[in-house]
Subunit: 299 residues, 2 copies
């Protein structure tokens, strides 16, 4: 099994993702300590009482002291500011832990990172929930899910390898991508779908027939992520603006194409369109539903 | 508990929904018999061997003979034809069972129904799955879900009551709506969300970065129903065209509004928009996730 070298991890910001990381690590044979720092003491206290972390502090420098791995977990805009504060503090006290983050956009983060800190490994676990906060943390959140690392030209391979092992310990599969490719792919696979869920939910909420009251499983799934954290998604929308607008335009183009086919009563084309989508969706079911993947029979 | 008077049920078309209805009835104390008719013998044979039905026939008149309740389960366009054949056969043999259907659109069906058959109760269970066929049938598919009946001016109250009891036996809650209101509300709550899932899936499948490979739970949910039955959704799109186009235009309007807010960097408005959606979505969670509804503590 993958195992990190570090024995002390500092979580800067304690929420759903960082809390789930802590719980996942505690479910392995790793026996290090986890300290959390954050702006809101109640969250930290809750994390301590839930056994998610071993200790907490409201003093950033104290949290960094002696840490081997620093994980910044905050909304995208705040992630950049916290990272800057971290690099300033590390330069001051001369420590060089591995530093990674959890933000769903990477370009905006990397643009503000120092170019002379080889221990920085930008990261993004593709996992989440419409629930937020450390109380919603689950040790199995990352099982089978992808974690994308976007190491920079200045990043040490040993740092990348340590962060990759950190995630492998949670059951995730680790891949590497360039920053721009990450932001464009995620705009299409995650950011634009969130905007679509928001748009659908808003349209339904304005409809005088109260259609949501007649919703079934389809609507449950198509609106679930509209309950996601508004601050995080505001940040994502603004910090990955161009890629997001391009991805939304692509979906809008398809929606308009469908409206045209419906409007003109083009049954054969519609059936072909839908059949193609079914094939595409089925082809990706093992990636999108990793927990349902059938196990290989023991031979 | 609700209980139907009928002791023999004919299912015309055996698939996910009619098969789940049969399984749900067999899980109650009702001890009648269920005969299935359909165009494809393999499905009927599978239903028989799975114990979903008691017998089957390829002869429509034989299926109707002695039936107390006739349930037409077919794609929307085929539902109208089967209903017509049923009414012709019933007139010929002088039987007057209660007749209902399962189609997700009602206007198109009702427009073709005879105005002199008081036993006809148009119906629509708001439940389904991206899987189709009798093998995917589940007895608990309707638990907590809504079944909408749209009785006509000519419909006997006793027929409506029998069909309502049929559905209540499956654990569903039964509501009544006018045909037009049903089609408009469902266009918004179900039909348009399916079109959105198709459009999103198609846009992703054309993207050179293969973004679906980086999908997580959000994309799993936002594309799940794009694997739905192409023929059924072709029929829904064409037979509920005007209401569907209006619902899609409303979502498109919201998407354009979001693109504008993102484009102009309107952070406060975006956060307010997302926060409103979260509130709306949370407010409907008990309807959209009926299985998760906490039980009242015994007093």
């Amino acid at each position: 099994m993958a195992m990190i070298k570090g024995t002390r991890i500092a979580l800067l910001g304690l929420g759903l993702i960082s809390g789930s990381l802590a719980k996942a690590l505690k479910a392995t044979s790793w026996r290090g300590s986890i300290v959390a720092w954050g702006p809101r003491e109640p969250s930290l206290k809750r994390g301590l009482s839930l056994g998610v972390i071993d200790e907490y502090t409201l003093d950033l420098e104290a949290a960094l002291d002696g840490a081997d791995i620093v994980v910044v977990g905050a909304p995208p805009a705040a992630t950049a500011s916290v990272l800057n504060a971290v690099f300033v503090a590390l330069r001051k006290n001369g420590q060089t832990p591995v530093v990674t983050d959890l933000a769903s956009i990477k370009g905006h983060i990397v643009a503000q990172a120092p170019t002379d800190y080889p221990g920085f490994v930008p990261g993004h676990p593709i996992a989440g929930s419409e629930h937020s906060g450390v109380s919603a943390a689950r040790s199995e959140l990352f099982a089978g899910r992808e974690v994308i690392l976007t190491p920079l030209a200045t990043t040490d391979e040993s740092a990348t390898s340590e962060v990759a092992n950190l995630w492998r310990m949670t059951g995730a599969r680790v891949t590497e991508m360039a920053v721009d490719a990450h932001d464009a792919a995620l705009a299409a696979s995650s950011h634009s779908p969130h905007m679509i869920a928001y748009a659908l939910t808003m349209a339904l909420s304005k409809d005088g027939l109260a259609p949501i009251e007649h919703g079934g499983g389809a609507l449950r799934d198509m609106t679930r992520i509209a309950a996601s954290d508004p601050v995080m998604w505001r940040d994502v929308a603004l910090t990955n603006r161009d890629a997001l607008l391009a991805a939304m335009a692509a979906v809008d183009g398809e929606l308009n194409q469908l409206r045209e086919l419906i409007s003109t009563g083009s049954g054969e084309e519609l059936e072909r369109y839908f059949a193609h989508c079914r094939e595409v969706r089925r082809g990706y079911d093992r990636i999108l539903n990793p927990m349902l993947e059938p196990r290989e029979p023991a031979s």
